[in-house]
């Protein structure tokens, strides 16, 4: 079987194939009522391009869905980290405790301060116990942030207590000017709670 085909049709096919090969799947072979075998090939190429467009659209939709899920996960993770980084616990009516863990930079200190002050005001807290048991080292930015936090708590009329200062952390606090913080420091959170309850007349401390 022989087939006579015009140069223009061959050129058209080649142009479409080159465009598709470059990633443009929206091109199509111009079809005319040529009753020959090449018409099947031309239509076949167009159908193949339709398929490629379909798969490209599916891929784009899946990619978009993955991005949406990734964004949602990132937001949930951020919320979780924020919630875990400021676990303010009401250990007694009017007494709040905040165990600090990890590095505290300016941004985190600002978040912690905001959350803590809100709780102090909302619960009319008289005492706030900042527990540093989970703080292995005081970075340069941590001390000023801690100082600001203590001063802000004092401005709301609450008394601040520090607990859990590790032996290796104490010199760092002094070196960074932390000794200027006029707050009571106790060994453990339970000691601070006992002291507060004793001040409130709700616990008799054994005389030493």
């Amino acid at each position: 079987m022989s087939l006579t085909v015009s140069q223009a049709r061959i050129q058209e096919l080649l142009n479409v194939l080159v465009a598709a090969g470059s990633g443009d799947y929206d091109v199509r072979v111009r079809l005319e009522e040529n009753d020959d075998a090449l018409l099947d090939v031309e239509i076949g190429i167009n159908y193949l391009l339709d398929d490629l467009v379909d798969r490209r659209d599916q891929n784009e939709a899946q990619e978009e869905e993955l991005l949406t899920r990734a964004r949602l996960l990132a937001r949930q993770q951020e919320e979780l980290v924020q919630a875990l980084s400021t676990p303010v616990i009401a250990v007694w009516p009017g007494v709040l405790a905040l165990p600090l863990v990890g590095r505290i930079d300016d941004a985190r200190a600002a978040t912690i301060t905001a959350v803590l002050l809100e709780r102090v005001a909302a619960e009319r807290a008289s005492h706030v116990i900042l527990d540093l048991t989970g703080v292995a080292a005081i970075a340069g930015a941590t001390m000023p942030a801690l100082l600001r936090m203590v001063r802000a708590i004092g401005l709301l009329g609450a008394q601040c207590l520090l607990t859990g200062i590790r032996a290796e952390v104490a010199p760092q606090i002094v070196a960074l000017g932390g000794a200027d913080i006029h707050v009571r420091a106790l060994a453990q959170l339970s000691d601070a709670l006992a002291l507060v309850l004793a001040e409130k007349g709700q616990l008799d401390l054994p005389s030493t």
Binding site: L31, E32, E33, N34, D35, D36, L39, D40, E42, I43, G44, Y47, D50, D51, V53, D54
Partner: protein, 116 residues
């Protein structure tokens, strides 16, 4: 509607469904068509007359390929484009008894010869 159905009888008295096809065929149209031929018209002989300019969307084409166990099907069209499109679609599908004709009398004779 791109599909119009008639229930008729061949010259030898065999019942068949004549389908007039024209226009742009969407996925919805194809779904309706397949539902008929896998449902109430299952196994029926079919003569479809497809007009020039009829276009099948990519999704419609794929869905029509799912109709694999239909009865004998003769398509009549005078359009080379439509004939090439249907030929290509039937290459992908294991459609069994399917032929494309340019002449309706030939198509009817072939259809009448097919076993039910």
């Amino acid at each position: 509607m791109p599909f119009r159905y008639e229930e008729l009888v061949t010259p030898r008295g065999r019942p068949y469904v004549r389908v007039h096809v024209s226009g742009d065929i969407s996925l919805g149209d194809a779904e309706e068509y397949v539902t008929r031929f896998l449902g109430p018209y299952r196994g029926r002989h079919v003569l479809s007359v497809v007009a020039s300019g009829t276009e099948y969307s990519a999704k419609a084409r794929k869905h029509l390929l799912s109709m694999s166990d239909a009865g004998p099907h003769a398509t009549v069209t005078t359009s080379a484009l439509v004939r090439a499109a249907i030929n290509l679609m039937t290459r992908f599908a294991n459609t069994g008894k399917y032929r494309v004709f340019a002449d309706e009398f030939e198509a009817m004779a072939w259809l009448d010869d097919q076993e039910a």
